[in-house]
Subunit: 802 residues, 2 copies
């Protein structure tokens, strides 16, 4: 794990048993806590050392100008960048005047545990100060899934080998100094001091800091409140919260400055005595509301959290997660590392989406500033397919955010000379923030991805209310865009020229198969939705002629096929291009985009990430089995996976085309992207889409799940290393458990009305409490496809790399 022997493989937590400062930044990402609204990176309580400090509020961003040496019409002039908001995590400790800093003195033990069921990050450290005094520190941190404005920390310090004078400073710090941004453009731009102070107050154990962002004018209020626990006796657990007065030997003080709030506790601990502090942190922000209003909201949240109490918050968190795991757990037998990884993934996906009400679900969630905090197409195409089955409310929220930004997308379409809406390639607030149009504006497929997500959410959850409301708005606006973007050719075929598909090593090509299939689906979905919801459609100005026009375009969609090679070209002409000379490249020169100019990548057959292969996953009925096999083998040898959005898709198609061990290898890559920092940028935050991909590789890959209507279809099959795969998917009120073993799969409808599924293409009716066991049919063995030189996935054995 993260190349560090201190990480342990355990089924329900991520445990680090030592501290390696070389991977500190990565550990801060994997140990991040969030609830979709508020995110705290897993920085050490005392703030230093740090890799990258980070506290984020979903939607709070600053704007910065986008420079161009040669400007073009329609280029966005400014971009959104996530900012590090007021840090409420800080708890600085002085022991006999020596600051607790793991870089000095002697760290005798250090353990951190991210508990997927408790929803907490706990830390235990035993440290001897340079002056020779030893203390034990225990902290437990949570970002509440039930009280979205609230995070909390329980901090204990215990004197071990003699009396110790301890001073604990609990802080709020705004405008923390951040490390300089790396040259890698994928890392976020660091904005220095983005918060302008507006007000600071200190009252008892409570401090509030109010700031406003300079360009975007967003008001951000952070508050903290504290409860000092008793000086617990040795070997006794800390008791219930209650404040102590000074007479008990504990002195406290509070102060506030524009960028600093501080609550100080000091006492003299006898050996074996502990000082316990509970810190509640509340956040609020608004683009519209007043400072008194937002401040009051934060104080109310603090009062509510204090009233719930530390034990109450822990209990709520546990209950929330118990319900989640009951709905969404995946059990993997035969590979403990994958078992841990998929739960790690589901936990972080929940953290990213659970309480994102009205805001985007960013590519890095709220775990780091990578990609400037932007949301991309991977939300709809990689993350939501998991949330649909696991946290459907989060999926709906993410789509509602798209609907909320529709007006901005309509303006963008008008600027580009198109009808309907053009959603941004990357954004926080809704406007286009991509400064490189061949891999931004030209990637129109993201619009069809939003439509696909609406369709899929409806199919999986049965939520017709959304589908016929906000969902229909999205379907119609995107369908109108496609109709105006494409054209009928002389032969009556509908073409979409000059666009960029998912593969970012090709750009601005004609009739990208993925794009055209997605656009066709989008047009049909809008036609169907408008037919099903005529009143809303009429409000949107949709008439019968427009519906018919959409169907005609969808029905005439151009899907190029290379008869000579017997494969689908990713885009028209793709298979005629020179194959990239992979042999000339050492693996050290990947990702190629850092070593090869775009022009050379675009003109050759080299694939960054699944494109045609993703189309085969999403449109299983548009390709014959023979085409799938031929296409998969063809693209496999061209795909370098310089994107985290590829291994999971390759796993799914590898499994479908009978390459189960290869699928297993790709599962490993997808599942360990962040835990093993395979792309060397986990420091900037976790890859939500790749985390989702570990679920997809298992459930869609080895479970064979496909769903293009109300009926989930399975074709389960396990690689040799796995002895069992069991997972639960939610289908609205229904809970369906699928338990796959090498020879048979058992389907159990745990809750909800009876359901039809397909198993290997055959329909079966399920009733609650009546499990059905059906035989696994392994696909015929096929010759192993090749990969680009040096880019075959690491061969995986159960629990590790061969």
């Amino acid at each position: 794990m993260i190349g560090h022997p201190g990480f342990r493989v355990e089924p329900w937590c991520l445990r680090e048993t030592g501290l390696d400062l070389d991977v500190l930044a990565q550990s801060e990402s994997v140990f991040a806590l969030a609830n979709g609204h508020l995110g705290w990176r897993g920085n050490l309580d005392e703030g230093e050392p740090h890799g990258l400090p980070g506290c984020y509020l979903n939607g709070v961003h600053e704007s910065r100008p986008l420079p161009y040496a040669e400007v073009g019409y329609g280029y966005p002039e400014a971009g959104d960048t996530v900012i590090n908001v007021t840090n409420g995590k800080l708890l600085r400790l002085l022991v006999d005047d020596e600051p607790f800093d793991v870089r000095y003195g002697t760290l005798r033990g250090h353990e951190r545990v991210l508990d997927f069921r408790a929803g907490t990050l706990t830390r235990t450290a035993e440290w001897t100060s340079p002056a020779g005094r030893t203390v034990r520190v225990r902290s437990t941190r949570l970002v509440s899934l039930t009280q979205r404005a609230i995070a909390a920390v329980r901090y204990e310090v215990e004197a071990l080998d003699g009396p110790a004078r301890v001073v604990l400073q609990s802080e709020l710090v705004a405008n923390e100094e951040l490390p300089a941004a790396e040259a890698d453009p994928r890392a976020a731009a660091v904005l220095k001091a983005p918060l302008r102070p507006e007000r600071h107050t200190a009252d008892g154990a409570r401090v509030l800091l109010a700031h406003r962002t300079a360009n975007t004018g967003l008001l951000v209020v952070a508050g903290m409140d504290h409860v000092v626990g008793e000086r617990a006796a040795p070997d006794q657990p800390a008791g219930p919260d209650h404040p102590l007065d000074a007479s008990s030997g504990v002195a406290t003080g509070t102060e506030s400055r524009p960028d600093l709030g501080r609550f100080t506790v000091t006492t003299l601990l006898a050996p074996g005595e502990r000082l316990v502090l509970t810190k509640y942190v509340g956040y609020g922000w608004s683009a519209a509301r007043s400072l008194p209003g937002v401040a009051a909201q934060v104080e109310a949240a603090l009062v509510a959290a204090g009233s719930t109490g530390w034990a109450g918050l822990l209990a709520e968190q546990r209950a929330y997660l118990d319900a989640f795991w009951d709905r969404a757990d995946v059990e993997v037998h035969g590979d403990d590392e994958i078992q841990q990884a998929v739960r790690f993934a589901l936990f972080h996906l929940l953290q990213a989406g659970a309480r994102g009400e009205g805001r985007a679900l960013a590519a890095k969630g709220l775990t780091g500033p990578g990609y400037d905090g932007h949301a991309f197409w991977d939300t709809e195409m990689f993350v939501l397919p998991v949330l649909d089955y696991a946290v459907p409310r989060a999926a709906r929220q993410a789509l509602q955010w798209r609907r909320d930004t529709l007006a901005v997308a309509e303006e963008r379409a008008a600027l580009l000379g198109l009808r309907g809406a053009v959603f941004p390639w990357r954004t926080i607030g809704g406007r286009e923030c991509s400064a490189y149009w061949p891999a931004g504006t030209a990637a129109f497929h993201l619009n069809a991805g939003i439509a696909a997500a609406v369709l899929r959410y409806r199919d999986v959850t049965g939520d017709d209310e959304f589908a016929g409301g906000a969902g229909l708005d999205l379907l119609v606006a995107t369908a109108r865009m496609w109709r105006s973007l494409g054209c009928f050719d002389a032969g009556g075929r509908f073409r979409i020229d000059g666009v960029t598909g998912p593969d970012e090593y090709s750009a601005v090509a004609d009739n990208n198969v993925y794009t055209n299939l997605m656009a066709g689906q989008n047009l049909r979905a809008a036609a169907d939705g408008a037919t099903d919801h005529p009143a809303r459609a009429a409000e949107l100005g949709v008439d019968a002629a427009e519906i018919e026009d959409w169907r005609r375009a969808a029905g005439a969609m151009t899907i190029p096929f290379d008869e000579a090679l017997g494969v689908h070209p990713q885009s028209e002409g793709f298979t005629a291009h020179e194959v990239f000379d992979f042999a000339a490249f050492s693996t050290r020169r990947y990702p190629l985009l850092l070593h090869v100019p775009y022009f050379d990548l675009y003109r050759k057959q080299v694939v960054k990430q699944a494109d045609l292969v993703l189309a085969m996953q999403l449109f299983p009925d548009e390709f014959t089995a023979a085409q799938k096999a031929a296409n998969f083998a063809y693209y496999e040898r061209l795909t370098v996976r310089d994107s985290s959005l590829s291994a999971c898709t390759q796993a799914v198609l590898a499994a479908e085309t009978g390459h189960l061990d290869l699928a297993y290898d790709y599962l490993g890559e997808a599942a360990l992207m962040d835990l093993d920092d395979l792309e060397h940028n986990t420091r900037d935050g976790l890859h939500m889409a790749s985390l989702a991909g570990s679920w997809t590789a298992l459930v869609a890959g080895f479970g064979g799940l496909r769903q293009t209507g109300a009926t989930p279809c399975f074709s389960p099959r396990l690689p040799a290393a796995l002895t069992r795969l069991a997972f639960t998917v939610s289908l609205g009120e229904r809970r369906l458990r699928v338990d796959v073993r090498p020879d048979a799969a058992t389907y159990t409808l745990r809750a909800g009305e009876s359901l039809t599924i397909r198993h290997n293409g055959e329909p079966h009716d399920l009733r609650a409490g009546e499990p059905r066991t059906l035989p696994v049919v392994l696909p015929p063995a096929a010759p192993a496809p090749g990969q680009p030189a040096g880019r075959a996935p690491a061969r995986r054995t159960a629990g590790g790399v061969r």
Copy 2:
């Protein structure tokens, strides 16, 4: 002319009879003087008012960082920008304490004349000061074609209506304040105070200022020296130069500061008396030599110029131009405006290239800061084809500059993963300065353009010494690039994918016909050149196998053809794209690039500038007559001419395909691009390529000149409006005069050995002094092709627009 009635149509000069400050900046460009080494914009002597002050030294530039919001591998990090060097033009006049400024007082008369035979800009102004004193000012300015470091001004002021105390300040000013750059990205970036003072000296009437550029470290020395003429009696011409001492009533003074040199003359003029001052200005610059060395060089140039004297400089200039016009004049009968325009064009082309020894010939020559002072592909493909016949030494110099930058181009190729050399899309010093690769790096055709220029220069001039030396180096380096850029497909055809042709409204397409034909010619030329010059070839490491490989690639070059439409697609797939909806655009929304995003232009059938049509001009034998007619008509309706590099080519093909009146319209557009400021950016400098295009439209269009080997071929034919077209072309030592009348053309070899020409395809031998008159054969009439809505060229009648 420039929308101003004050401009006169005269055959041998450009005369402006009034001063309109609204077109001052444009007039500064058209009245610019230059010699290829040094350029002075036609700013008023007194400096103010000005549109855009400008003094340029070819090659003197500063470097500036190129910003990217999203950087990519291989993007250039810095760009070159031409800078305004020390201004030596300034002559400020005070009349009784009132500064002579045309904006104040009363301007009773103002005339400027650019004389194409004298090579001078003369100015006469009669002005009454706000205080009521009237003076006449006469100035004559030249930039010497014979003494490349030297410019000179003769300035006379005469009191007309009473005694006047006049003070004349002759200045050198460095780091002049420039107007802010416009938002139009095509205008140059303004660099504030680019010159760092190094030394300033004043001695008698001589002042020197030495500066150095900050980033590029170029030393720039400007010096001036003066001769004060006698107080000439009324109505007598000024006498020979001789200095006057103070006793004659004239007081002088000299001073210097870091950014200012000044020589002051003051006297009291009786009515009818004149003060005459002759100012010699010398420039020198170097990247390597010392300040004393360069300063001495400037002083030497000043001494030489002073020794030549004003009358001597005028005589040298006249003699130089007489020889030029004898070699290169074009007579147009029936359209005085075109007559004037083509001589204006030839004069400015001479000024741009005459003395450019070792430096680039920039797109704007030395007439303004447009395009940052960069040279582009148009030098080789539009300007040199004229200079080959008119100023062959300048053509050779421009190619030698390419050879001198070969090492930089080889480094660029290596960076891009290619063999040989990749020359920059835009540059001053030789490095790539284009920050937008789809219309920069991807426009590889420019490399073949350099090879074509080598080939053409050799064919026209017979200069085998250059062709087998520096020329061969260029041919081999570019051929190697093409061989590594392209590939053989499965069917054995040679493909070149993902490149941008001349049409900048398409980009990154496969098998652009122009590019592929040019690349094939490049490969063949390298093979032929290496075969003809085996020793040099061996030094370059060329062996028989490589030669054979080049020939094989050239022979298998892919040239797509659309059988259904019967036309060549500009690039593969082009004709399948949607045709741009021209009808939706008003003419006010041209150029399209300011109103339509690139992605939309690239994906549709819309052509910025001749691309396939240019290929038909350059490769007359690669297309049948029927194909030429069909292709011309097809592309005519798609071409919006948002570039100055289009009308001349369209004129040539319109003439060839029988649309003589349309060709005449395009001739008008090409010839008047700058004189009528058709693209609204003449203020930033003249379009050298379009100026060349006026010659091309006449000589290649109505003269029908094509030359792909040693034999010039003509197919003369006149539009109805022209009664006669006569031109001289130089072919090495030969002078061939072609005199075309409606029914017959007369070919006269005026000097040199006997020559074979072709007339309408048939060979004819010419001997000096034996004119041959041959019949004109008009092409069959063809139906008029259409143009995009609102983009038909202005219909031209003799001498103006219908």
